[in-house]
C-alpha cells in the first residue's frame, strides 16, 4: 500500500457494538478542532481562488479568455493599441495552454488505461516469480519527486542525454494535426499537417513526463478489486467456450468498471494538474505551456487576477473530480453493503 495516494473509505460496518459515550465537552472540542483545521487549510484556500478570480468582476473574469476588442472605427493612441494587442496575445496564450492540457491528457489517458488493464490482468490472474517486485515497480513513480521525473527525461533524451543524438533529430508528427487530404496521393487519405523535431522542450516530452507521474493510478485502483474477485467467473466463461477477449469484455470489464472509472478520474486529475515534471521538460517555452505552467507565468508577470482565473478553471475541475470520486465511493460501498446483506440472508 505504500506510496498510494488512493485510499478508499471502508464502509461503516466494522464495530459490532456502539462505543461508550464520549464526554460531551471533549467531543465538542475535537469536532471544533477538526472542522477549524479543515476550514483553514482546505475551504478558505478554495474559496479564495474564486474570490481572487472574480476580483475584477465577471467582466474581468471573461476578459481573460475574451479580451475586449478595440471599438470599430475608433482612432487609437499607440498605447491603447498596444493595450488591446497585449490583451489579445495573453488570451491566445491562455487558450493555447488549455488546448495543450487537453491534448496531453487525451494522449496520456488511453495509454495509461491500456497499461493499467494489462498490468492488473497480468498481476492478479497469474502467479509468477517476481510478481510482488513487479507491483512494487509499478508503484515506484508515486515515490519519485515530480522534478526528478522531469529530470530523468532530460538526462535521457536531452541534448547531452544518453540517447540525446538520436532524440534531438527525431521527427514525429503531431497526432492532432491529422487531416483529410483525399485519395489524390495514394490509398491513404489522411496526412499530418505538422511535425516536431526533437523530444525535450516539445509536447512529446510533456506527454512522457505526464505518463511517468500518472503511471500507477489505473493499475493501482484495479488491482485490489481484481485480486479479491478472483478468477472464478472468468474460468466459468472460458470453460463454457468463450474466447479470452469475450471473457474480458463480458465478465472482467463490467465487474471492475467502477474501479476503472475511479482510477481514470484520479489519473486525469493528476494529468491536468501536474506541474513539477512538466515544468522541467517544457523549457519555459510559451507554446509548451499547460494550464499549471500558464498560471505560474501569469503570477510571475504580476497578473494575479488572470492567474487566479486560469486556476479557478482547474479548481472547478478538482471539485468535479472530488464529487465524481465521492459518488463512486458511495456507490461501491452501497453495492458492498447490499451484497453483504444478501449473503447474511
Amino acid at each position: 500500500m505504500a506510496g498510494a495516494p488512493i485510499a478508499k473509505v471502508v464502509s461503516r460496518t466494522g464495530s459490532a457494538r456502539p462505543a461508550p459515550p464520549a464526554n460531551p465537552l471533549i467531543r465538542r472540542i475535537l469536532i471544533l478542532l477538526a472542522v477549524a483545521f479543515l476550514t483553514i487549510f482546505i475551504v478558505v484556500p478554495l474559496v479564495n481562488v474564486f474570490v481572487q478570480a472574480l476580483s475584477k468582476g465577471v467582466e474581468g473574469y471573461v476578459a481573460v479568455f475574451h479580451p475586449p476588442e478595440a471599438p470599430e472605427g475608433a482612432t487609437l493612441t499607440i498605447l491603447q493599441k498596444r493595450h488591446f494587442g497585449e490583451g489579445a496575445a495573453q488570451a491566445t496564450r491562455t487558450w493555447n495552454s488549455i488546448g495543450m492540457t487537453l491534448s496531453v491528457a487525451a494522449v496520456v489517458l488511453p495509454l495509461n488505461i491500456l497499461f493499467g488493464l494489462a498490468a492488473a490482468w497480468a498481476t492478479t490472474k497469474f502467479h509468477f516469480r517476481g510478481r510482488t517486485l513487479l507491483t512494487s515497480l509499478i508503484d515506484l513513480p508515486f515515490s519519485v519527486s515530480p522534478v526528478v521525473a522531469g529530470l530523468v527525461f532530460v538526462l535521457l533524451l536531452g541534448r547531452n542525454g544518453i540517447f540525446g543524438d538520436w532524440a534531438t533529430h527525431l521527427t514525429w508528427p503531431d497526432v492532432f494535426s491529422l487531416h483529410w487530404i483525399g485519395f489524390a496521393n495514394g490509398p491513404w487519405p489522411f496526412a499530418f499537417g505538422r511535425s516536431f523535431t526533437g523530444v525535450i522542450f516539445t509536447p512529446l516530452a510533456i506527454v512522457l513526463a505526464s505518463i511517468f507521474v500518472t503511471f500507477p493510478f489505473v493499475a493501482r485502483s484495479l488491482t485490489p478489486l481484481m485480486e479479491s474477485l478472483g478468477s472464478d467467473e472468468e474460468m466459468a466463461a472460458l470453460s463454457l467456450g468463450a474466447s479470452g477477449w469475450r471473457t474480458f469484455f463480458k465478465i472482467t470489464l463490467p465487474n471492475v468498471k467502477w474501479a476503472l472509472l475511479y482510477g481514470v478520474i484520479l489519473c486525469a486529475a493528476r494529468a491536468f494538474g501536474e506541474f513539477g515534471a512538466v515544468s522541467v521538460v517544457s523549457g519555459h517555452i510559451d507554446a509548451n505551456d499547460t494550464m499549471p505552467l500558464r498560471i505560474e507565468k501569469l503570477w510571475n508577470e504580476y497578473n494575479n487576477q488572470a492567474a487566479f482565473t486560469v486556476a479557478s478553471v482547474l479548481a472547478l475541475l478538482a471539485v468535479v473530480t472530488l464529487v465524481a470520486k465521492t459518488l463512486i465511493d458511495w456507490k461501491t460501498q452501497g453495492n458492498e453493503r447490499t451484497s453483504e446483506g444478501v449473503s447474511d440472508a
Binding site: P20, P45, V147, L155, P292, A318, V319, K325
Partner: protein, 299 residues
Amino acid sequence: MKSFRVIPGLPLTLGYTLFYLSALVLIPLAALVIKTTQMTLAQFWDVVTDPIVVASYRLTFTASALAAAVNGVFGLIVAWVLVRYEFPGRRFFDALIDFPFALPTAVAGLTYSSLYLKDGWIGGFGPRVVASVNALAGWAGIAPPLAPDALDWLTFPFTGGTTGIVLVLIFVGLPFVVRTVQPVLLEWDAEFETAARSLGASPWTVFSRVIFPEIFPAWISGFALAFARSIGEYGSVIFIAANIPGKSQIAPMQIVTRLDDFQYAQAAAIGVVLLAFSLIILLAINGVEAFARRQERAA
C-alpha cells in the same frame, strides 16, 4: 498451479506491462543513475555536500517533518471525529479530505501564497490584530501596548522563514494520515473500550493504552507517506517560497536551478540523493506494514 493456465493472455499482458514499465519508468530512472556514475566519487561528494545543497536538504526535511507532524496530530483528530461523532456536515468534510489529491499543486501554491501575503485574508491577520489592539488602547488613553511588528511572524515566509513552505506542505500531505487511520478506526471493536472503561480506566488511558497502540502502525505509515510526499513536492512550494539559494530553496528547486544552468550531472547527483531518501522512506513504510501484519497474525 495448472488451473491458472486456463486464463489466457499472460504473454500479451505481461509483455506489454514490462515493455511500458521499462520504456517509461525504469530506463529513464536508470539514466539518472548512469549520469551520476559518470562523475567521480569525489565530484559527486563535492556536489551533494555543497553548503547550498545541504541547506536545501535541511530545509526540505525540516519543513516536511514539521508539516507531517502537524498532519499527524490533526489528521488523527480529524479521522477520530469523522468516524466517531455525528455532526452536521460530516459527509461534506469527509469528502473534502481528498481535495488536496484532486487540486493541482500549482493552484494550491497560488492560493496559499495569496492568502498568507501581507494583504491576504490570513497573512494580514497579525498586523490587523496589532492595529486594532493599538487603536483600542489609544481610545482608552493608554500608550500602544504592541510594537507595529509584534505579530509579523504571522505573515508571509519572507519574515517567517519556513512558515509558508510548511503551511502549503500541510495542505499537500493532509489526506494521508486521515485516510490511513480512518479504516482502522472503523474496524475497531468498541468492546475493548467498554471493557477498559468498566475496569475503571479514564478516557485518556483508554485512548493512549488501548486504542492508540491499535492504530499506531496505520498512523505511522500515514505520517511517513505525508513526509515522503512533502520531500518531493515542488509545484506548490515554488509559489510560496522566496527561492533564495541557501535560505528558502528546497531540494527540488535546487535541481531546477542546476538544470537551468545546464549543470546536468550536478542536477542528477542531487536527484539521486533525493530519490534515495524517498526509497528509504518507502522501504521503512513497507517494513512497518509487514511488522504490523506479523503482530496481527501473532495475536
